[in-house]
Amino acid sequence: MSEAIKDLLYRIADDELILGHRGSELTGLGPILEEDIAFSSIAQDQIGHALANYTILHEQFGEPEPDSIAFARGERLYKNSQFVELPIGEYDFSLMRHFLFDHSESCRYELLQSSSFTPLAALAKKIKGELKYHTLHADLWIAKLGNATEESHARMQSALNEAMPYALGIFEPSDYEGELIANGTFVGEKKLQAVWLERIMPVIERAHLALPDLSKIEPKFGGRHGYHTEYLLPLLDEMSEVYRFDSAAVW
């Protein structure tokens, strides 16, 4: 059982860490000051949530200290979806990823509030309010830009089309789905995807965007099993530079 829960924790935390790092790359680059602050704040939250999950891994399962988990693993050991490692691109792509990913995260934690694995259930309850700010932020901007000008609408639509195969990759089944479901740890990726779709659809409609035909999309799987795009390794190199230079460095 513990292998199944560990795998789940790594998926959740690695997504948060890597997307948190990507979000921090927008610090100083946001299209307006408020968005600069928003992406930076959300990044800070995400890295904090990753730390909380790495701490559970360390304390409950005897995995290494959070810092070594975050910075000293090989690329193949990261269980994040490929979606979160893609470069920030233009603001339209980053915003669309923030919208699609953060809703999946928020739905995941909502479902985990009743998990039989109590440390994760407690964390899920604790951060639900914080995640509400993330999804409200994304919803406001998706609706605003979807309805603003011809160009903003076209950009949001193409960002949605581009992001969707990767967003579906978030729900790549693990090798432990049956075990997690039977044990009451988690309802599983398939169910999560259905809940997520129901959650994002009203916003997509409000933004007058067209959801691509999901049945014709090949989801970008692999990340959950350690197969990543060319973009993860350079990110890890940069993120762990200080740690590799001096693993005992303190601020």
Binding site: E34, D45, G48, H49, L51, K126, E130, Y133, L136, H137
Partner: protein, 160 residues
């Protein structure tokens, strides 16, 4: 024993949030219990935002302040029976926030929604005629608003 507890709470009112230096950990609702025994004191401590960078500083300030007040063997333990909510900020704390220039968090009725997040009273003139500018502000616990009456921007301590 009650006197010791009172004394400790009194001392804890001197431990301030580094980001809002007029607000103590007691006013923020971060202290959930104080357990005093013959040879040690345990303070139960509830962190606010998960990623708040001030948490570890506050934790060590609690220990340091009590030890400087002559209380030996202070343990600051994380409260894990429940989570923090802005509803734990005391009435006095809310007044202090406004005095400091920050809007106070609304009491959360039922579940947190956009209306509660958007509507803030202006801490400068008291007007309710305000507009939310951004869900995120200069720290994790603040959002940015604008008062349509006194025409000032202000930050608000987020309801959570």
């Amino acid at each position: 024993m009650t006197n010791i507890k009172e004394y400790i709470y009194n001392r804890l009112e001197r431990v301030m949030d580094p980001e809002i230096p007029t607000l103590s950990v007691v006013d923020l609702g971060m202290i959930t219990d104080v357990i005093a025994s013959n040879d040690s004191v345990t303070v139960k401590f509830l962190p606010t935002f998960v990623a708040c960078p001030a948490t570890s500083v506050i934790r060590s300030n609690i220990k340091e302040t009590l030890e400087q007040s002559g209380i030996p063997n202070v343990n600051v333990e994380l409260e894990n029976r429940f989570s923090w909510s802005s509803d734990r900020v005391t009435e006095r704390g809310k007044q202090l926030l406004e005095k400091f220039g920050l809007g106070a968090p609304a009491t959360i009725t039922d579940a947190l929604d956009l209306v509660q997040i958007e509507s803030s009273k202006c801490p400068h003139c008291g007007s309710e005629n305000t507009t939310m500018r951004s869900l995120f502000g200069s720290t994790l616990c603040r959002s940015i608003h604008y008062c349509n009456d006194c025409r000032q921007s202000f930050e608000r301590f987020k309801p959570l």
